[in-house]
Amino acid sequence: MLQAIFALAIKEFLALLRDKRSRLVLIVPPLAQLLIFGYAASFDLNNVPIAIYNEDRGATSHEFISRLEGSPNFEIIRSIHRDADIAPLIDNKKALIVLHIDSRFSANLQKNIPASMQVILDGRNSNMATVAFNYMRSILMDFNHEWAETHGTGRPPATLKIRAWYNENLQSRWFIIPGIIGLLTLVVTLMVTALSVAREREAGTFDQLLVTPLTPLQILIGKALPGVVIGIVEASVIITFAVYWFDIPLRGSLGSLYLGLFLFSLSAVGVGLMISAISVTQQQAVLGAFMFMVPAVILSGYATPIANMPEVIQWLTYINPLRYLLIIIRGVFLEGDSYALLFNQYWPMAIIGIASLATAGWLFRKRMY
């Protein structure tokens, strides 16, 4: 019996790896994606284009502007001298921010009257606007602090020192790249399995498979095996790149990571086979895989946090295996979590895996008789 399953699994591997283009598709795109997205997917802003509208002639405003110049977050693209110049710059996306300093700025500061400046932001992308404003504010807070210390004007409000755990410098990349490991594992595993039955059905060989002495369960296992193996191999390659190329710290144990990957690939394979069992053509299978994948990625916490979603949608995320995998990968990489701390992520994936594989098996059988 084991031999029969094995033979089927080998046949599946051959069907997939025999074709040169299919082989390339399994290797090149995931790595290209990891590299491109690893560098591209970041919420950190560099070189935010900023225009300066300085009506003040004093030295203090220039001192503040030179701080902006020195910051890697900002790039001063232009100085303007009229109100009318503000709108075209922002409208045409030439500048994300216009900083307006009025003519009494330095004078007010010298007289110990609070001086003010105005920041005009392009809000089309609200996240960028918020992040850029936060950068600006922290530069201002430093400036205020030093001003108060050197000029002895009243006590500056005590600033909070905030310490971030696990990702001390708050680098987006440390958050996103572990996410990409999960994302690509899902894409590859799902595609491989979703197409496996649909391909045979379209070619008419599925009927032949059904009249062999293999039981539905054996067919199921034989079809599932390649997906699990390819998913885990693929993930290992990406993990290697994450650690050695992108220098993401791997603080936990590989064992707890791989337990998560194994359980995850089981559930991804289960979903893939379910899609495969109900689709008649390969096109339907790809579209079906897609229709699962897109919501699964969006509702996984990959780019936007689950906690920000409305409650009903948050419930939906509990049936999403990627949700648990991302917590595990990030937990092991950044937080160095132990098995015990991740237990609540393991068991839901195991249940999703068993349930989806069982459903796939049931669908196979239903299709047969």
Binding site: F133, N134, L160, Q284
Partner: protein, 380 residues
């Protein structure tokens, strides 16, 4: 193909026949209808309701070692803020355990002699920790905590007759999206994603399917020229894409209250352009790959994922490394997302619209030439 003897036998009828065949294939295959109509609705609902970068009610642990009126007032400030959902802890150890177990996202620790030392020492007797794994959220949370702290401190100092003035104050004015709602910029961008799905994903599978099933040989021996073949394949998917675009726009405006400040005709024109570019890419993929599995994978990797990650839809292009910024120039969604965000939120701003539409037109021209060349090689 044998052009000479048959081209005069009413090419229009042949083209019509091809279009009808393709349209019937779309209508009879529930999965194409699903991706054209159900997918936009699902995606819009998911993004509109599910995807938000605006953190609210962040669970933070509050450790107060010596409770009194002052600490109660600060705790009240945090409780009143819509950004926080504070939970009390008895000791810092308990709170740190909760942070490790991901039950809370941050800790605000008011130390032993908080009230006495508050205005006297340089380092305030308060410590804050946040979970930095999700760096973007951690950044926002830090900003909110600073905001609550500063406001409270100013009020408190004033009530004690002390002034804690800041030398320079900054006021912000946000254009186009004053409430800074992430829905307003995500939903228009989503139109580009949905049209990419239909234009490239669906179309790339179509020619590949003909190869897989062996019907390509059957078409090759018909009098259909390669131009007619391409047009026949494209027209039905163009219509499908445009219909679902209009559908998505309607949902965006009426369901999510996204303002549509620009003119409708520009939207129609720029979407047609983008749709044609997507179709050309889809056709190119299918001609090159000749196999549905490969076509599906390639179109996922070269169209959908870049449209999601490299288009400025969610991640800022300016902040990417120079090499990646170069790559984004060949992602058509980049230009369309810029058009959409401007058209919806800012109106008809011609310099932005014209530049991006020009880029789309150029891409259309380049891809059309490549498709022509490739299809001649492969089909004839």
């Amino acid at each position: 193909m044998n052009k000479q003897s048959h081209t005069k036998a009413s090419p229009n009828r042949r083209l019509r026949g091809m279009i009808i065949k393709e349209s019937l294939q779309i209508i009879r295959d529930p999965s194409s209808i699903a991706i054209a109509f159900i997918m936009p609705v699902v995606l819009l609902l998911l993004f509109g309701y599910g995807v938000s970068l605006d953190a609210k009610h962040v669970p933070v642990g509050l450790v107060i070692e010596q409770p009194d009126a002052v600490t109660a007032s600060l705790a009240g400030s945090f409780a009143q803020s819509e950004y926080f959902a504070p939970r009390p802890f008895h000791s810092i150890q308990e709170a740190e355990t909760a942070l490790k177990e991901r039950r809370i996202d941050g800790i605000i620790w008011l130390k032993n002699n908080f009230s006495e030392q508050l205005l006297n020492t340089k380092e305030p007797p308060i410590a804050v920790r946040v979970n930095g794994v999700d760096s973007n959220q951690a950044n926002m949370t830090q900003g909110y905590i600073q905001g609550v702290w500063l406001t409270w401190l100013q009020h408190y100092a004033q009530s004690k007759g002390r002034s804690l003035q800041q030398a320079v104050q900054m006021e912000q004015r946000i254009w186009f999206n004053p409430a800074l709602s992430s829905t307003l910029f995500l939903v228009p961008g989503l139109i580009a994603i949905i049209m990419t799905l239909i234009g490239s994903m669906l179309t790339s599978m179509v020619v590949a399917r003909e190869w897989d099933r062996g019907t390509m040989e059957a078409i090759l021996v018909t009098p259909l020229s390669s131009n007619e073949f391409l047009a026949g394949k494209l027209v039905p998917y163009f219509v499908l894409g445009m219909v679902s675009m209009l559908f998505t726009v309607a949902l965006a405006i009426w369901l999510f209250d996204v303002p549509m400040l620009g003119s409708f005709w520009i939207l129609l024109l720029s979407s047609s352009l983008f749709m044609l570019v997507s179709l050309a890419i889809g056709l190119l993929i299918s001609i090159v790959s000749k196999n549905q599995f490969v076509a599906g994978q390639i179109s996922l990797v070269v169209t959908f994922l870049p449209a999601y990650m490299l288009s400025g839809f969610i991640f800022d292009i300016h902040s990417m490394p120079a090499a990646i910024q170069l790559i984004t120039h060949i992602v058509p969604a980049r230009y369309f997302v810029a058009i959409l965000q401007t058209l919806f939120l800012a109106g008809d701003i011609w310099p932005v619209l014209l530049a991006n539409m020009g880029a789309l037109l150029l891409m259309l021209f380049i891809f059309a030439v490549i498709v022509r060349k490739k299809s001649n090689n492969h089909l004839e």
